[in-house]
Symmetry: C2
């Protein structure tokens, strides 16, 4: 049996988790041979022999015994440098950097083929939930219609506090930061970019198509107000930050990240706190639901251990669906039904609604519920990002499409 | 790309589903070349060219073009004959027969190695939920502690009718039969054997250990009475038929199939109707929950399609965990806390309880809640199977063990 000698980049929260998890995995036949960090003298949460720590990447790249590189560093540029250098040197590499992956996947797929070297990154989307591996291996056929889920633990924790514990948004955000669920700059999580990058990676493995993150409508929860929360509660809904990719017919699919009104009957309604949940919908198997801890040191590290074990058995992603003759195309030409709340910005005037279903005006706030084309949301992002505006999706309103998500309307 | 020419055995509910699903899978590169059935002249639910239907198995085994055999017949003996003949002829084979697999897995694993030929059977446990593949590939390390779930759709449908719709047990059973969820002889489902066989297969892939079905305590729901249902409702619990395999420490694990009082906070509490749900618990990732349709023509067929596609890419189970140096051993020497309801059979006298926590006697019924060793439940199965007796597990009561499932007590 091959034994795995790992060169690890990064010894932060996840890096320390990997050290702990590998120590627990008695049958893994894996060993961390060298760890490259920025600051050799920093105090660490884990006990590592000081002599294996280095601040020179060449101590890893030039060590002929190292047969797997694992990188769990925050900086996407440094992550890109490490991953591409590893592939070019034909050293298999495991990465957890979703920002880097979502931006560079097409190039990284080519590099893997050119140098016949594997890059694995199951930990990058939803930590311990094996979503990429299942899309790649198990749902590797034409039956897949939709992948939809709560992909970001921090924003979900905040929304859970607000909806289940009647906490204010600001207090919930502060508590998430205290618990270490949200970064000190939480915009990556709460503005939806973390979910977006995961969705881009998932879509490559779900439908075999890469869509640049810049082309995907992404809207987070930072503008949410008590008006929106009350509106949702009156309708017996929770607001959740949902990422979704949906085949609207055999030839086209759409994708977006947006707060959504979720009914109690939906699986993702019960995905609370820092958990992630994903629904995979197919033509014959209806809905599959996977649920688990999406973030945190040990869940992410255990997912990286799965990638490490997979390398032990020579596993690599085949990107089979990218070679399918009939791949669907990305479209934003799809009608959505949305709720938009606003104060000063005159939303009904400024946005090209196809139809307005509801309109509410008061001295304190206003909202409109209407049909609008997804591409127009992208086009008018600036207006939607005004401080006094908040938009949320009212789900399952695909008209004139072959596959209806369900009959539910809010 | 290899193309798959399938020889199919069986054209019942699942067989017809496979024909439909393969027709939908445009990129699958798979074709059903021959179908072997018992009765060539029977009316079928699916449109198949009559000339590919045969009643002679040799028409499949002697067709050199056929490179994959798929068998979805009910009879475990015939299934065994087909699968072993296929392996000996070095033709890869996909099987959905859980009874046959649970009884013959050790021999079938040897045959696969001896003839370097793959047998796949993801559809055999929980239909469209990819539980075997995930245990084999993703949770292939020492961190796994427990797999616990609702593995049988028919009995779960009946219990859902009883608990959520206040239906009587007998009416619910009848309705399940009308809907085709339960066989006309429903004992396979409701006496727990279907769950047991799935659990035996799951345990091979979860812990690398085969346990004969005869050695596993198995108790179904056919003795359930209104007293038990009311008891559960008073405690705000649902009774579910639960199969579980649990590592109780590094060296030992236990397994059993038994009705269980499930609290609303548990994931499986919300697994209703004909659905299946599985919780995979690990040392670092806490709990993963997978949920989906566990039975039915198309869900099962789509799972078989996943096995077919896997063969297209040369996939086979490696049974890696069977080669681990440190595999845990099966034990029944574990203390459980159980509820036993009885009428005439004097349960507190007849069973060797370690401790009795509660005792209730009335003119109409009696019950006892006590601690008992699992091996004593196996030993006194006859008593527990008396018509007036019903037993259910009160979960998470492992004492003196390293890993506690949770702090919950009923």
């Amino acid at each position: 049996m091959v034994s795995i000698k790992i060169g690890l980049f990064g010894l932060g929260t996840v890096g320390c988790g990997i050290v702990d998890v590998i120590a627990k995995a008695r049958n893994a036949n894996a060993e961390i041979k060298r760890i490259c960090v920025r600051d050799k003298n920093k105090q660490r949460k884990t006990a590592v022999a000081p002599e294996i720590i280095t601040d020179s990447k060449d101590d890893i790249f030039n060590d002929a015994e190292i047969n797997l590189i694992v990188e769990v560093i925050d900086d996407p540029n440094a992550s890109y440098e490490i991953v591409t250098e590893a592939l070019r040197k034909r050293i298999p590499v495991v990465s957890g950097n979703k920002t880097m992956l979502a931006r560079h996947l097409p190039e990284l797929i080519k590099l893997q083929q050119e140098y016949s070297t594997a890059l694995l990154y199951d930990a990058s989307a939803c930590g311990s939930i094996p979503v990429i591996r299942n899309l790649e291996e198990y749902y590797d056929n034409d039956l897949l219609l939709e992948v939809k889920g709560i992909l970001n633990g921090s924003s979900n924790y905040i929304l859970s506090q607000v909806f289940d514990h009647n906490e204010s948004y600001n207090n919930a955000l502060k508590r998430a930061q205290d618990y270490g669920y949200a970064e000190s700059d939480p915009s990556f999580d709460i503005d939806g970019y973390d979910s977006l990058f995961k969705l881009v990676i998932i879509t490559v493995h779900a439908l075999g198509v890469y869509v640049s993150p810049d082309d995907v409508f992404t809207y987070g929860i930072s503008h949410i107000s008590d008006y929106d929360i009350n509106y949702a509660k009156e309708k017996n809904r929770k607001l959740k930050l949902v990422a979704q990719v949906i085949k609207i017919n055999d030839d086209n699919f759409c994708m977006f990240v947006m707060p959504e009104f979720v009914a109690p009957s939906r699986y993702i309604y019960s995905v609370d706190d820092e958990y992630n949940g994903i629904v995979i919908r197919g033509e014959c198997y209806d809905r599959q639901f996977m649920f688990g801890k999406g973030a945190g040191s040990l869940p992410t590290a255990s997912s990286i251990l799965s990638d490490i074990m997979a390398r032990l058995h020579g596993y690599k992603y085949e990107y089979k669906k990218m070679n399918y003759a009939a791949r669907p195309s990305y479209t934003t030409d799809i009608k959505l039904k949305v709720y938009i709340r606003y104060q000063h910005t005159n939303i009904p005037e400024l946005l090209p609604f196809i139809k307005i279903h509801e309109r509410y005006n008061s001295e304190k706030t206003n909202y409109v519920v209407g049909d609008i084309i997804l591409s127009d949301l992208l086009r008018f992002s600036d207006i939607l990002n005004a401080d006094d505006v908040f938009i949320a999706n009212i789900p399952n309103f695909f008209e004139d499409t072959e596959y209806k998500s369900s009959n539910e309307t809010i």
